[in-house]
Amino acid sequence: MNLDLVATGTAAAVVAAATLRAATPILFASLGGLISELAGCINVALEGVMLVAAFAGVITSAYSTLWFPDAPLWLHPWLGCAAGLLAGTALAGLLAVFHLELGADLIVAGIGLNILAQGLTVLLMAHLTGDKGSTASLASFALPSLRWPGIGAVPVLGVLLNGDEDTGHNVLVYVAMAATGLIAWALRHTVFGLRLRATGENAEAALAAGLPVRRLRYAGLLLSGLLASGGGVFLGMGYLTLFQADMAAGRGYLALAAVFLGGRRPLGTVVAALVFGAASVTAARLGQLAVPAEVVFMIPPLVTIAALVLVKQHQRLATRRRAAAGRAALLSP
C-alpha cells in the first residue's frame, strides 16, 4: 500500500475521530431539540440542561465513592451518569411545567432556566466543594470507552474505530449514534412517533383525535431533556472528567441551530451536528496556521448561514426546473 495514502488516511481518520468526539455533545442535544421541536415545543433550555446534567453527573460520581465506599469501582461513573440524566431531565420537566401548566412563553422560560442552571450549578458547586470554578480537585470518573480489540495496528481503520490514542471511543459516543438511529426509526415507525409528529404539526387535530396533547408535549420535552442530558454527561464524564462553570459554552444553542439547519429531520440534524463538530475541530487545528483565531471561530456560524442559503437556493432551482417542465407541458397543445 502506498505510504502517502496511509498517512493521509490516518490524518483524515484522526480528524474524523476528533469530529465524532466534538460532535457527540451537540448531537445529543440536537436530537433532544429535534424531538421537542417535532412535538411543537422549541427547547431553548438545552444549554441549561447540559450544564445541570454535567454537574450532577460529575458531582455524583465523585461523591458516590464516599456514599458507597464498598461499591465496585465501575459502578460510580454509572451512578453519576444516572444522576446526570435525572437532573437534566428534571430541568426540562421544569420547563414543561412552566410552559404547559403555568402558561409561560417557551423561549423566555428556556432562557430563564438557562440562567437558573448557570447560577445554581456554581452555587451548589461552591457550597459542596468550596470552589467556584471547577471540580478539578474532586476525583470524578469518566464513563468507560469501548475499544475494538485487535485492530489497533490496522492503518486508518484502527484510528477511526479506536480513536487517535487507541483507547477507543467513549461509550456515550456509541450511545449517541444508537440514539440517532433509534429516534429516526421511532419517529417514523412507532405509534408514539406518529402521535408526537401529529401533535407538533397540528395540535388542534391531535386534540380532536383524542390524543393527550399535553402529555405528549410533556413527553417531548422530557425526552429532549433526557437526550440533552446525555450530551451534558458526555461533556463532564467523557470528553472531560470535570465540571467547569459554564462548560456547555454555547453548545446548547448550537444544537438548536442544528435542528433548524437540518430541516427538522433526524438525518439532517445529525449532519448539521457533525458539521458543527467538524468546525470546532477545524478551529482547534487550523490555529497552527497563520490564521487569526477570530477568523477560525467565524467558520461555524458562517457555514450555518451559508448552508441555510444554499439549501434554499437548491430548493428554488428544483422548483424552477419543475415549473419549467410544467410550463412546457402547458405551452404544448
Binding site: V14, A18, R21, A22, P25, V122, A126, D131, K132, G133, S134, A136, S137, L138, A139, S140, D164, E165, T167, L235, Y239, L240, T241, L242, Q244, A245, D246, M247, A249, S280, V281, A283, A284, R285, G287, Q288, A293, E294, F297
Partner: protein
C-alpha cells in the same frame, strides 16, 4: 388586598432610604480593618483570581483583617460603578483589585477618594498623569517564568525521553492573545529557543478562558503533531490540556498556581503528567502588600515590578514528576533561573515598550 404587597415593598423602601448610609462602617479602634477585593470577573479560574483570593484569606487569618470579596462579573460596563461604589461607601479604607483592565479605572477613581488606599496587582496606573498618591501597583514579570518553562520543555525534548514525540516540537495553549498571556508565551518561546535552537513552538489560542473541551481538543491536536510538552496558559480552559496530557501520555506545564497539587489526591496519574507549574504568586504578593500597609510601610504612589528575584514568580516543585526530568535539564533550568536573577539574562517581553 391587591394593593397590599406593593404598599409593603414601598414601606420597606422608605425605611431603607431613611436608614443612614454606611452605619458602623468606619473602623473604630479595636475593630478589624476592612479590606475589599474587587474581582472584575468571577472567582473559580483556578489560577489568577483564585490565587489573589487565597492571599486575602491568608491576610484575614494572619493580619486579622475583615475581608470582603466582590465579584464584579464579566460585564465591563459595570466595573467602574462597582469600584466607585466600594470607594464611595466609606466602608473600606483599602481596596484590592487586579488586572491591567482595571488600571485605567483605578486611575480614574483613586484621585477622587484620597482617603482610600488602592492596591492594584498585575496592573499599573500612569503615575505621571494622575494624582495617584494612594495607589500601590505591582506588576509581574511572568515572562521570566515562561522562560524557565521553555528551557524545561525544550531540554526535556532534546533528551528524547518522551516516547512518540517529535524532538523538535513543543506546544503552547493560550486562552486569548492578551498581553499577560503573550508575555508568558514570549518568555516560553525564548527559553525553548535558547535551550534547543531551531525548535518549533506550536501556539494556539482557545478563544475562551472557560472551555476546557476546546482546550483538550487543541492539546490533542498538538500532541498528535508530536509535541511532547505543552505549556498551558489558558485559565480554566487549561484543565482540558491537562486531561489531554494524561490521555496521550505526554506532559504539560501548568500556570499561576501549583496545578499538580490540585490533582495530587484526586488523580495522581494526572498529577504525574504536570512537569511543573509556572507560579505567579499573586497571593503572597498581596499578603505582603497588606502587611506593609498595616505597618504603614506600603510604598504608595509607585509601581513595583516582581519576578523571579522577588520570589513572586517561580516554578512549582512537583514530586510526582520529579523522576521524569533528567538532572541535566534540571541543572539547565536552575542555571537560567540564576542568570535571570543575577540580571545577566534579560527575557523578552510581550509588553510594548518593555516594561509598562
Amino acid at each position: 388586598m391587591r394593593g397590599q404587597p406593593l404598599a409593603l415593598v414601598l414601606m420597606v423602601m422608605v425605611m431603607a432610604v431613611l436608614t443612614p448610609a454606611g452605619a458602623g462602617a468606619r473602623a473604630a479602634d479595636g475593630r478589624p480593618q476592612r479590606v475589599a477585593f474587587f474581582v472584575n470577573g468571577a472567582l473559580g479560574d483556578k489560577s489568577f483570581f483564585d490565587s489573589a483570593a487565597r492571599g486575602l484569606r491568608q491576610a484575614k487569618a494572619d493580619l486579622h483583617l475583615a475581608t470582603r470579596t466582590i465579584e464584579g462579573g464579566y460585564d465591563p460596563t459595570r466595573w467602574e460603578s462597582g469600584l466607585v461604589d466600594l470607594a464611595d461607601s466609606g466602608d473600606f479604607p483599602i481596596i484590592v483589585t487586579g488586572t491591567y483592565t482595571m488600571g485605567p479605572l483605578v486611575q480614574k477613581v483613586a484621585p477622587d477618594y484620597p482617603d482610600v488606599t488602592f492596591i492594584l496587582f498585575d496592573g499599573v496606573v500612569d503615575y505621571a498623569h494622575c494624582a495617584c498618591h494612594n495607589v500601590y501597583s505591582m506588576r509581574f514579570r511572568q515572562n521570566e517564568g515562561g522562560y524557565l518553562a521553555g528551557v524545561l520543555a525544550a531540554g526535556l525534548m532534546r533528551t528524547g525521553a518522551i516516547p512518540g514525540a517529535a524532538p523538535g516540537l513543543v506546544g503552547l495553549v493560550g486562552a486569548m492573545p492578551i498581553p499577560v498571556i503573550n508575555d508568558f508565551a514570549a518568555g516560553y518561546v525564548a527559553g525553548a529557543q535558547d535551550a534547543a535552537p531551531g525548535i518549533t513552538v506550536l501556539r494556539q489560542f482557545a478563544n475562551s478562558f472557560s472551555d476546557p473541551a476546546m482546550g483538550k481538543e487543541i492539546a490533542k491536536a498538538q500532541y498528535g503533531q508530536g509535541a511532547g510538552v505543552i505549556f498551558q496558559v489558558a485559565g480554566a480552559t487549561g484543565q482540558g490540556v491537562i486531561e489531554a496530557a494524561e490521555e496521550t501520555g505526554r506532559y504539560v506545564i501548568g500556570v499561576d498556581s501549583d496545578q499538580a497539587a490540585l490533582y495530587r489526591v484526586s488523580s495522581p496519574r494526572r498529577a504525574a503528567r504536570i512537569l511543573t507549574s509556572v507560579m505567579k504568586n499573586v497571593d503572597t504578593a498581596i499578603l505582603r502588600a497588606l502587611r506593609l500597609w498595616q505597618q504603614g510601610r506600603l510604598p504608595l504612589g509607585r509601581t513595583e515590578s516582581l519576578g523571579l528575584k522577588e520570589g513572586a514568580i517561580g516554578l512549582a516543585d512537583n514530586p510526582d514528576a520529579a523522576l521524569t526530568v533528567p538532572p541535566a535539564v534540571r541543572a539547565a533550568v536552575a542555571a537560567a533561573r540564576q542568570r535571570i536573577i543575577d540580571g545577566t539574562l534579560t527575557v523578552p517581553t510581550a509588553f510594548a515598550g518593555g516594561r509598562p
